[in-house]
């Protein structure tokens, strides 16, 4: 089983490398949104600092939605998903590995870019560390929950809009706690409570989402 999961990981990494331009899309979107904001609302450092964390988080959510469909769409269309489902490897583990690879290839680049963007928006250093820790805990949650919805909308031709509609309400609590944490950091207050809540949400989804994704994928074959 370990060999099979390793192969899935290696295959998805190789595919991500071959389809670099597709991967760049969400990243470009992320950079564009954040670099346009200071131009749109004026370069006043105080205003930027106030809206900064929210802007980065909203951009991260939207750009992760943009790249989310890649997760299973190609495999569904070319029949690879069928073949994976017919291998003896347990599907929840397969789903977990695929989501992890997807997170690694499409979200981690965003995290790596975030110091630069935090500079654009005049975030202070404590604010940046708070932002980074919420992103580190929160974005895997985005991918895990998003993958359930991707599985459910696989059979639809243009599932993208429906995907966004399904997921946005689910992401709102995450957005609220994440921005609250950064806000607290800007006032030099402790923000471990917010982090703990995001962490708890992440752990619950880590435990349950793989099974939900596996079920959604099985349903998609009907």
């Amino acid at each position: 089983m370990r060999i099979a999961l390793k192969a899935i990981f290696a295959r998805d990494l190789a595919l991500a490398y071959r389809q670099r331009s597709e991967l760049m899309q969400p990243m470009m979107f992320f950079i564009l949104v954040i670099s346009l904001f200071p131009l749109g609302i004026g370069p006043n450092p105080a205003t930027l600092q106030k809206v900064g964390p929210g802007v980065i988080w909203v951009a991260a959510i939207l750009s992760s939605l943009l790249g989310m469909e890649r997760l299973f769409k190609d495999d569904y269309n070319d029949g690879s998903l069928e073949q994976i489902m017919l291998s003896a490897t347990p599907l929840p583990f397969v789903a977990l590995v695929k989501v992890f690879t997807h997170w690694l290839t499409s979200i981690v680049p965003l995290l790596l870019l975030s110091p630069l963007l935090a500079l654009f928006l005049n975030l202070t250093e404590p604010m940046y560390w708070a932002l980074l820790s919420t992103l580190l805990l929160g974005t895997p949650l985005l991918s895990l929950v998003g993958a359930i919805a991707v599985g459910l909308t696989l059979g639809l031709n243009r599932g993208g809009v429906l995907l966004a509609l399904l997921l946005l309400p689910v992401f709102i609590p995450l957005l609220i706690f994440a921005t609250a944490a950064v806000e607290a950091a800007s006032l030099q207050l402790p923000y471990t409570a917010q982090l703990a809540i995001i962490g708890a949400m992440f752990l619950i989804s880590l435990a349950l989402a793989p099974f939900a994704i596996a079920y959604a994928l099985r349903v998609s074959q009907n």
Binding site: A4, A7, R11, L15, R18, E82, M85, L86
Partner: protein, 209 residues
């Protein structure tokens, strides 16, 4: 005991009953040939037999055990060849097959895959992205699985001859016969007349309105 058996299967799609009360029993060495016009439900029947899709009613058993309860045992002995090839167009044939083998717990080496690809007439194309191959060549890449997963006893083939040339068809026919003689079983659909020198069981599906 039959290798693969189906009991009272019925499947409907979009409020249309495709078939009902289908009973199938396939033993070692059996070649089962499912016939019927377009839309009669051949693919749906095969997908139910693989366990990818649930039937509305009825059950499928492998060596007497329900496949839904023994998914892993069944799937490690199963080889399904569907309409969608399961070949990624951005990867080359070698990568596609290597990853497929690892996923299906098939122990193999690069050299073994090179040999099989040369049997299939794909010499020199091992590291060309699949999107640059012709339709028939892409199918040949997918066909390599029949040579790789030798442990599979149950083969379920959906239109395996589509887009293949005469040589390709002959190659596949020989491989099917070889598999049957080694005690495997094959369930397949095809619109071409089956040109094999082997006794076949036939199942006719009708198009229902």
């Amino acid at each position: 005991m039959p290798l693969l058996s189906a009991h009272q299967l019925s499947v409907s799609k979009r409020d249309r009953l495709l078939f009902d009360e289908i009973n199938i029993s396939v033993s070692a060495g059996d070649l089962m040939y499912i016939k019927g016009p377009n839309g009669a439900g051949k693919t749906s029947l095969l997908r139910v037999l693989t366990g990818l899709v649930n039937a509305d009613s009825g059950s499928v058993a492998y060596r007497g055990q329900n496949i839904m309860q023994n998914r892993e045992t069944y799937q490690s002995d199963l080889l399904y060849f569907g309409h969608a090839l399961g070949i990624n167009r951005s990867l080359n044939p070698l990568e596609n097959l290597m990853y497929w083998c690892c996923q299906h717990n098939v122990m193999t080496t690069k050299n073994a895959i090179y040999d099989i690809l040369s049997v299939l007439g794909l010499v020199g194309l091992e590291d060309v992205p699949v999107s640059n191959l012709s339709a028939g060549q892409q199918r040949r890449v997918a066909l390599a699985r029949f040579w790789l997963k030798t442990a599979a006893t149950v083969w379920i083939l959906d239109e395996p001859f589509t887009a293949l040339d005469v040589q390709g068809i002959a190659l596949l026919n020989t491989r099917i016969i070889e598999h049957l003689q080694q005690g495997g079983c094959v369930v397949m659909t095809s619109h071409q007349a089956l040109d094999v020198d082997y006794p076949t069981k036939e199942l006719q599906l009708e198009y229902r309105i």
